[in-house]
Amino acid sequence: MRLRTLLFFTAPSAVLMLLFIFTPLVSVAIQSLHTTIVLREMVKVETCTPGFLAQTCTTTERSQVRMGPDGKPLTETRFTGLEAYRSVLETGKLATAFAPGGQGWAEVLRLDFWRALRFTLTFTFITLPLVVGLGLVIALAVNNAMRAIRGPLVFVSLLPFIITPVIGALAIRWLFIGDGIVTATLRATIDPQISFFAQGWTIEVLMLVYRVWHNAPFAFIILYAGLQTVDQDTLESAVIDGASRWERLRYVVLPHLAPLIVFVSLIHLMDAYRVFEEVVGFGSEAHVISLQWLTFSYLMPDFTGNRYIARASASSMLTMVGIVLLLIPLLARVWREHRPRG
């Protein structure tokens, strides 16, 4: 293909990618390097609040936001370099943790970012094989079911996937929190002391189970579609050659599905690394937080109405870097397969 034609064909998608992926990314990168500071001045302020019998007024000298001529607060945006990254990563505390007398990893895991990273990675790597594995098992089961019930089976298997993630998480939360139906039953039958939201690990297990339940149908439907295109002749000759069911799966079906498994894994890695709904839905921030939740918490206005844009941007950049690092091995595999040989 001539270069000109190639450019002509890729131009529309290149323009869109530039506009909707590259530009925001650059903007976030720039914002992560700048901090906006509210300008204040010291003034004498008289403040009155209701007492019970009379009003209580106090005059104090305190700093107050300076207003510009347009009635908006004056702010100043400064270039702060990697300050926001240092603040998110808490590099100073990292250094003391590993200095003599520090407590090493135990201390690191008390820092928000690192604690979030720990959970995010565990979550991603535990759910990945479970989602792909369970998806494959369901796909094989449905594929071997009677033709007449396949349609309804596919529909039912897909149901968890079409539930809005936050709503699904809330449903699970209500089943397990306090004396939710499941917990109440377990308390009555096994141990009256059981509670799922009192410690971090049980919440994490619930989150893992929920995500696998929610995402396995995605893996299932992709792999099921793949199963429809397995070469029947090859399968039949395998049968004639005396291959067992397991051998047919191992040497015929799985190699055929391999590119799809890579695809499902890629999508799942990206999704799982951005775990967020579970933290919000389960209300687990006292015990477990994720990287995406951390970004969100920087972005929510605090009790002064301020949002921490620089740190939120730094945190999103770090999340993006994390996803890219995770995807490299899989992308490298795809690249090797599609590289023109010779």
Binding site: T35, T36, I37, V38, L39, R40, V43, V45, E46, T47, C48, T49, P50, G51, F52, A54, Q55, T56, C57, T60, E61, R62, S63, Q64, V65, M67, G71, K72, P73, S87, R110, V166, L170, R173, I177, G178, S195, F196, F197, A198, Q199, G200, V280, G281, G283, S284, E285, A286, H287, S297, M300, P301, D302, F303, T304, G305, N306, Y308, A310
Partner: protein, 415 residues
């Protein structure tokens, strides 16, 4: 009943995405109750507890009023009011939630309007900042002590007045086998847990922020506060780190707990036979002190409304008149027990006893300052780490101060 519980639970789990309750009253039905005829479309955004339900319902009677009651109004209000024209004319606020609006300069001084239409207001209701009236308060709110009177009588235990007595009583109730978790507390990370901390911290004589805006959390008072909170945890539901006011109220209603320091606005629901199994048995008392004869360990709050700045003056005037209609004597009489009103016609009932005793006992007002807002945010983010055992008391207090300082630098409060 079902709708009530639904409305009560949804915001609590942090999902509330604008539960519009009481969308514009039906024309011609209830408008008689409002003295003016509102012709301008007015939108309001406030919290969603009983008092706001009462006030917004009274606003709706004026016609053309659309009210949004949302327990997460705090995160929406600053941006919505910064828009030009503002997305809401009237905003419901409290001591802490008025600060972002003041900082951004998005609410208007009300002195002219108060002079013109505010004859019914007492000076007590005018929230003044720098000599200008910026908000109109309608009620006082505080966390006061609520106890199951029947249980305490039966057990022969006096109603506790200090936290030591609370913990003794809790131990007795637990030992009796009647309550596995006799105590309730709002310990959900964020505002709830920061408030539990501050109540006790201020009572121990702690100074949260010094005049130069440097933090004072890492102090003896801070250590004592954390120690007391750890002692409370022994008697709380093991899942207490997910528990907010709605959750504690429900624990009361279902007989799971016998006492808690809970918002006065919840008293109505606890004694409402339609939703509580123990209506009439829950006594209101002053918040417990940290030592015998000390001040009640709680803070005084006000709730009221503000008018947006980015509006045509005529529209703001109409909004003010509507807002005034919502807090008239008629509304107070119909909803006497929904809050501790600062309004004409209010007769303090049994549900106000705890709040009034706390105030009379000398509980301090919660300071409406930016520094306090940042301390609150830093506490909300870090105290849970101590409760779960992730950090020691010293480490927690240091983390709170560090988090406060990072925030305060961006807010220009410290260099």
């Amino acid at each position: 009943m079902l709708k009530r519980t639904l409305l009560a639970t949804l915001p609590a789990i942090g999902l509330a995405t604008g539960l519009a309750v009481g969308l514009a009253a039906l024309p011609g039905t209830a408008e008689a109750a409002c003295a003016i005829r509102n012709t301008v479309p007015i939108k309001t955004l406030s919290a969603g507890f009983d008092a706001w339900k009462a006030v917004t319902a009274a606003w709706a009677e004026c016609g053309n009023v659309q009210s949004e009651l949302d327990m997460n109004f705090r995160t929406k209000q600053p941006t919505a009011f910064a828009a030009n024209p503002s997305l809401y004319q009237i905003g419901g606020v409290a001591n802490n939630t008025v600060v972002p609006l003041l900082n951004a300069g998005t609410i208007r001084p009300l002195d002219d309007l108060v002079a013109k239409y505010g004859q019914g207001l007492t000076p007590n209701q005018l929230i003044k900042v720098d000599g200008k009236t910026m908000a109109v308060a309608m009620m006082v709110n505080t966390q006061n002590f609520m106890v199951r009177e029947d249980v305490f009588k039966e057990m022969g235990i006096a109603v506790p007045t200090t936290w030591d007595e609370v913990l003794d009583a809790a131990a007795k109730l637990k030992a009796s086998g009647k309550f596995a978790t006799p105590l309730g507390a709002t310990m959900k990370p964020g505002f709830d847990i920061s408030q539990e901390f501050l109540n006790v911290f201020l009572a121990y004589g702690g100074v949260a922020t010094k005049p130069d805006n440097s933090p004072g959390i890492n102090s003896e008072a801070g250590m004592k506060t954390l120690a007391l909170m750890k002692r409370m945890a022994e008697f709380l539901d093991p899942e207490y780190l997910t528990s907010d006011s709605t959750y504690v109220a429900r624990q009361f209603q279902q007989g799971k707990i016998a006492m808690a320091n809970l918002w006065a606005t919840r008293a109505g629901a606890l004694n409402n036979p339609a939703e509580s199994q123990f209506a009439g048995k829950i006594l209101q008392a002053a918040a417990p002190a940290v030592a015998k004869g000390g001040k009640p360990a709680t803070t005084l709050w006000w709730d009221g409304w503000v008018i947006a700045k980015n509006l045509p003056d005529a529209e703001a005037e109409m909004a003010f008149r509507v807002a005034m209609e919502g807090i008239d004597e008629e509304m107070v009489k119909a909803n006497n027990n929904a809050a501790v009103w600062l309004l004409k016609g209010y007769v303090p009932g049994p549900s106000a006893k705890g709040a009034i005793e706390s105030a009379m006992g000398g509980a301090p007002a919660y300071p409406s300052t930016s520094a306090m807002g940042l301390i609150s945010a830093a506490l909300g983010e870090n105290v849970a780490d101590f409760m779960t055992g992730k950090k020691t008391a010293e480490q927690t207090l240091q983390a709170i101060e560090a988090s406060y300082l990072t925030r305060a630098k961006e807010q220009g409060l410290v260099k």
